[in-house]
Amino acid sequence: MGVGIKVEKLNAWFGKTQALYDITMEAPANHATAIIGPSGCGKSTFVRCLNRMHETVPDARATGRVRIGELDVYNGTAAVQIRRRIGMVFQKPNPFPTMSIYDNVAAGLKLNGFHDHARLDEIVERSLKLSALWDEVKDSLRKKSGASLSGGQQQRLCIARALAVQPQVLLMDEPCSALDPISTGKIEELIFQLKEKFTIVIVTHNMQQASRVAEFTGFFLLGKLIELDKTEKIFTTPSDKRTEDYITGRFG
């Protein structure tokens, strides 16, 4: 079961430039929350602050409070530990090129010291089934490399890899922007099913995708969260004019 995400007064900087201003919001458990906004509005930065990936950029820092269920992301636990509890899928599919499909899925576990092979087989199969890739690759798990799959398959492989460590929250940064419509459709279906077990935050610049997939949508502009509400409210009668101007294509 997933857990909810609570963010309080999150601020983030790249060196001297501030990228996020006092973000306070909640993403409810077992639901998908979409983050939309024009380029450079801070939506990717925001999501990367949730699992402290933001810190991998030199000179970057963040203040504020992020709670994922019981876990306080910024106080007390090491970033590496945090990231083991949160799954992340990136914009461009990035399977490890030198590893087989099996090793890719198991990477999160193996690289963190888990070596029980019998259980690994089980976990790999389960993760690939969860990400709807099992049937397509079950005969060549150890023979084919992760990079030899098609774009859509690679992204599903990355999803399986993220799910294998059994996170409670899945962060997705524009997961379908490099994919064709059919692969996109498959992944959207997947997100719909994954909501039962996980809490999902998905950044997307495709508003139709946000409206198809997410129950809640947040609109970011210039580093601030302008509005966060149920998706049908945002897309039929948004409260803020800036939100309406953006979603109707008046700017951005």
Binding site: R83, N94, F96, T98, S145, S148
Partner: protein, 295 residues
Amino acid sequence: MPETVTATSDFAAAPISLWRRGMNFFATLAAAAAVVLVLLPLGAVFGYLVYKGIGSINWAFLTQTPKPVGEAGGGMANAIAGSAWILLIASSMGVPIGIGAGIYLAEYGRNQFGNVIRFTADVLNGVPSIVVGIVAYAIVVLSQGHFSALAGGVALAIMMIPTIARTTEEMLLLVPNTVREAAYGLGVSRWRTTLSITLRTATSGVITGVMLAFARVAGETAPLLFTAFGNQYWNWKINQPTAALSLQIFTYAISPFDEWHRQAWAGALILIVLIVFAVSAVRIVASRGMLKGTN
């Protein structure tokens, strides 16, 4: 408002002028000629070596130690073995240090200190091999009191390190950041990511760098003059002077004896063949270990 764009149809439909086609042909010809010019000396050297040396290669040459001056026969077996031994010592020091330095420069050294190291490496690369030999002499031979394979290994290692470090750095930088991010996202620590993921992705490039460095030092003579010094007999001890193929060729080539000249040619041919063999072997073994779909 976006301006409307119209295509000028006459531009696209015009035939390619004669001058352009001529230039295209000429440029292709020039490129092909450049390739031939490069391969020609290589072929010539190899061909000439074969011509001069093949007659002297026989079983005796490959298995016997040199005979005293004046006597016919004998071989370079100990030199071949000695070269291998010295190169092994050199690699065991040069490769780890070089790769380690490369990893540091790529992953942690994107700063002023890293620039200093890079500059130092480039300078070291340009230091004449005889100077490296003298330095190794001063450090190892003088403190130990005798010539040794170790000293030879140290000299060659010093020459290997800059090449390996720089190519390793470049190969690691070629690994796209998305691969590292994937590992970070899984909660893998930075050092683990560097070793298990980044380095592994760059493996074939790093191996190329190592092979390049190896091939370069395999034939070096000057650094070994005051360090390994050479030996007429078999030696496997690390602390004793050791024969080396390049040294032996040098000694024989500048001698006044025809018999030795003959053997020098053979030695040179053997040296080139062994280097090619070693590099190919590593390539084949490395590619076997790779999976379908990776390069």
